[in-house]
Symmetry: C2
Amino acid sequence: MPKALIVEDHPIVSDSLTNLIHASVPELECYHVTTAHDGLAWLNGNKAAIILLDINLPDMSGIEFGTIARSRFRDLKILAITSIEQRHVVDQALAAGINGYILKSSDTGEILEAVHQVMNGNKFISTSVADLLKGKPNANAELPVLTRREVEVLKLIADGLTNQEIADKLFISAWTVDSHRKNLLLKFNAKNTAILVKTAVTSGIISF
Amino acid sequence: MPKALIVEDHPIVSDSLTNLIHASVPELECYHVTTAHDGLAWLNGNKAAIILLDINLPDMSGIEFGTIARSRFRDLKILAITSIEQRHVVDQALAAGINGYILKSSDTGEILEAVHQVMNGNKFISTSVADLLKGKPNANAELPVLTRREVEVLKLIADGLTNQEIADKLFISAWTVDSHRKNLLLKFNAKNTAILVKTAVTSGIISF
DNA sequence: TGCAATATCCCTTTTTTCAGGGATAATCAG
DNA sequence: CTGATTATCCCTGAAAAAAGGGATATTGCA
């Protein structure tokens, strides 16, 4: 009997998914874990026909889980089911080899459709999410690609350090920090530190 | 027959709540809306024994919904059920007269217990949420109370406007904006704009 | 009514950021 | 190897914010 693994820390959501699958895809046997850690352990002893994956997990992000799981088991079918509608999260999820991405606000029909498609080896992206990816009308502005150093500096800026303080902490010159700062402003098309930090936080580049 | 109103935009969550109540509290009839707006409309024609309320709604926050609903119907029983575990949100919810606050990560037993308690006129706060309120170990730092004007200025600062630009927009002097800015730095105990904005965004004072 | 909180306006000095350059190693992928 | 990217360092001048005062209306609540 094929097995479905639900990785989700909200009981009401996982219960609902379990019921839904029981009712509509009775040939699938549902298993349930609440953490990424437990999920990886489960995978060591079981073969999953499909994994239903939340992106917000208590111990690590669903993206990380997906990356690790796929590195161990090449042919996993992973369907992300989450309430996150941010471009960069979807991008990361797809880059991590996730096969489907739907929202918790999807109706049950769409969820079942996604489960079927993903189990059959296809990709399934929620239409509202697909719009995001296409850069439709008011889609989020593209996020710039930052270097490691730039991310490092950005975080320290957001923590309220001045150029000089950052320079001391990273053992570099304040001029260098200033260069990174200017590049950050340029890449984000930001006028000043305030909106730079706001954008960085809201877009998830800075974890809080 | 007493009625329960579920205000929740994620079908899988509302379905699950409906099933749970059907199974365990059969004397309650479940109704379901996905927006605060529809919820208020429903209340105009119906009497709810209890409202199960999500905090993240598409059209307004659950807090606002609670405030408006209570101003119209004094004796409503409102149970917030959400995944938000931030101090200031819980504080706001209680201030808005919400009778119970539980998390989506609660097990079904706790959810049912909360429903019963709230319907009977008691308060019910999830233990993990109660810990937050008690200022346990690593509780979030207290957030300062801001005036309306300060919030207004804070948002414009976070949008990258300079004091002068804010002054022009609000038809006040740049000196005044500077005063507000200094008060904000003081209230947040922030050293500069960067960490001020970061704190404001991560704590939810600035909606994104 | 009267006090407290809020909102407003004003000044100086110092620090920091912003905008405009330019330049040289190190690293890394094709 | 080579060229592109990254990280580093440097300069100037203007603009803005931070720190430090102080002062006067207005408003809302007790």
